[in-house]
Symmetry: C2
């Protein structure tokens, strides 16, 4: 009854997560085919095919030729300029749909990604979530660290949830930093780490410091985010950057946030005297 | 009937605007007394007294001693760390009220400023708006430049208004940048110019350029902003920074935005091929 191993395509954006998915899938016995997104995937990752965001038709054909009926799209991708592409036929359909949506409502990443997912599905390719492959990647609800949020931190978390939900509804970003009730930064397309670096550059009078931590990073999935291909993700780098911004800790959506290398993250946060708290819905 | 000239206190934060207010007030025959906010006011400004944000009681006494029943608070101030002050008695009351409000709702600049205004008023000091002194400082509604917003720019402006209104309601900031429907940045306490510099650092694929302008800066007063002491302000520097970020133009609230040196601003925008558009409510 062993038969041929099941095929799984991994479409790899940047960061370490694609490599972890490949490893976990292979351990589970999948026959993995890795598609590296040009200009994005980590060069230490061994790929089978390079794919180009502006060549969606070609990408779909490559995936089909490799008989991957299931794919995981994992890792970050800087949103390419959809309107400057020289699109192939597959991409043209995609661009046309995005442009139509943009005319109505303006576009954010969610719109682009949800159209992309439908195009995959219309081509008979199922999108699998990272957590289906790496089963312990989701951080639970509750405080994971020795350090716990103080009352002041809880007030900041409360305000940060309101702000993050609102900017999520508007498809702007998925996190913000609040310190003593004041919103110090809202994430845009620059991403969480660049946002945290910005906070670190603000006047010390407005924020905490490594020796006297104040303020929180609150990171939550956006309302219309496709949870299969775009989950909030935390890892060592974000904890380091939050530390340099003088923050007391990080609050995230419990059960809805990928914590890469959880043990190392918790150990680092403990060493830095920071908290990691998974929020309940 | 000439009598003694009326006294006017000018509390000066940073930038060129305080100097313009002093000049305009003197032309109108006011006896002007200038209070420079320590670490903020422009050193080229001749001041009568230096005042310290952490010494509000002393500041109120100085203003009263100088018999200024009316003051203009003008120019930018980086919000000091209210919780690290060694406050004098006047400031203690202020800090206590801010802390109380922070416990309930968290604080932003609006809360701090509105409490500050009430404390001045309780001390018999009337706050006058900059526009009462410099009468032609408010930019009108309508397009002021040769360049007009394209249909694409209008879509970005529409989305930018929704985003700016929302972040204004949350007391986060008063402007954002939208390009091809995507929100590229939301203003926090770093201010408009730093936000624009951030946009200029984003990948060219996401934004316009000096040679092919795309995207808009939308700047609107926050919902609860005290229009007497905290009006959205535009000047040459912001136009220059918007240009470097590759933007097509700037949309602002007509009749509710201070345009410093309007003629020079319009001339510069025309030279750069950018639009300035005052929005109707």
């Amino acid at each position: 009854m062993s038969g041929k191993p099941q095929k799984l395509g991994v479409i790899a954006g940047n960061g370490a997560l694609p490599g972890l998915v490949v490893e976990a899938a292979q351990k589970q016995g999948y026959d993995v085919c890795v598609f590296g997104i040009s200009d994005a995937y980590d060069l230490s990752l061994e790929i089978d095919h390079k794919i180009y965001p502006q060549r969606l038709g070609q990408t779909l054909r490559t995936i089909k030729k490799n008989k991957c009926k299931e794919v995981v799209i994992v890792g970050g991708v800087t949103r390419p300029n959809l309107f400057r592409f020289i699109p192939d036929f597959g991409t043209m359909k995609f661009v046309a749909r995005v442009a139509l949506e943009a005319k109505k409502n303006g576009i954010g990443d969610d719109t682009v990604l949800s159209i992309l997912v439908s195009i995959f599905e219309e081509n008979g390719i199922t999108i699998r979530a990272t957590k289906d492959i790496i089963e312990d990647i989701m951080a639970p609800a509750g405080v994971l660290t020795k350090s716990k949020p103080s009352n002041k931190n809880d007030i900041d978390i409360k305000r940060g949830r309101i702000v993050t939900d609102t900017i999520g509804d508007l498809d702007i970003g998925q996190c913000c930093v609040v310190c003593r009730g004041q919103v110090l930064a809202v994430e845009g397309p620059e991403g969480t780490d660049e946002m945290l670096k910005r906070v670190a550059q603000l006047s010390q009078a407005m924020r905490g410091s490594v020796t006297k931590r104040e303020g929180v990073l609150v990171k939550l999935p956006k309302t219309n985010q496709d949870r299969r291909i775009d989950m909030p993700t935390l890892g060592l780098t974000t904890i380091e950057n939050a530390s340099l911004a003088g923050l007391a800790g990080i609050a995230f959506a419990g059960e809805e946030t990928q914590l890469i290398d959880a043990d190392a993250c918790i150990k680092l946060a403990d060493e830095l005297g920071m908290f990691l708290k998974g929020l309940k819905p």
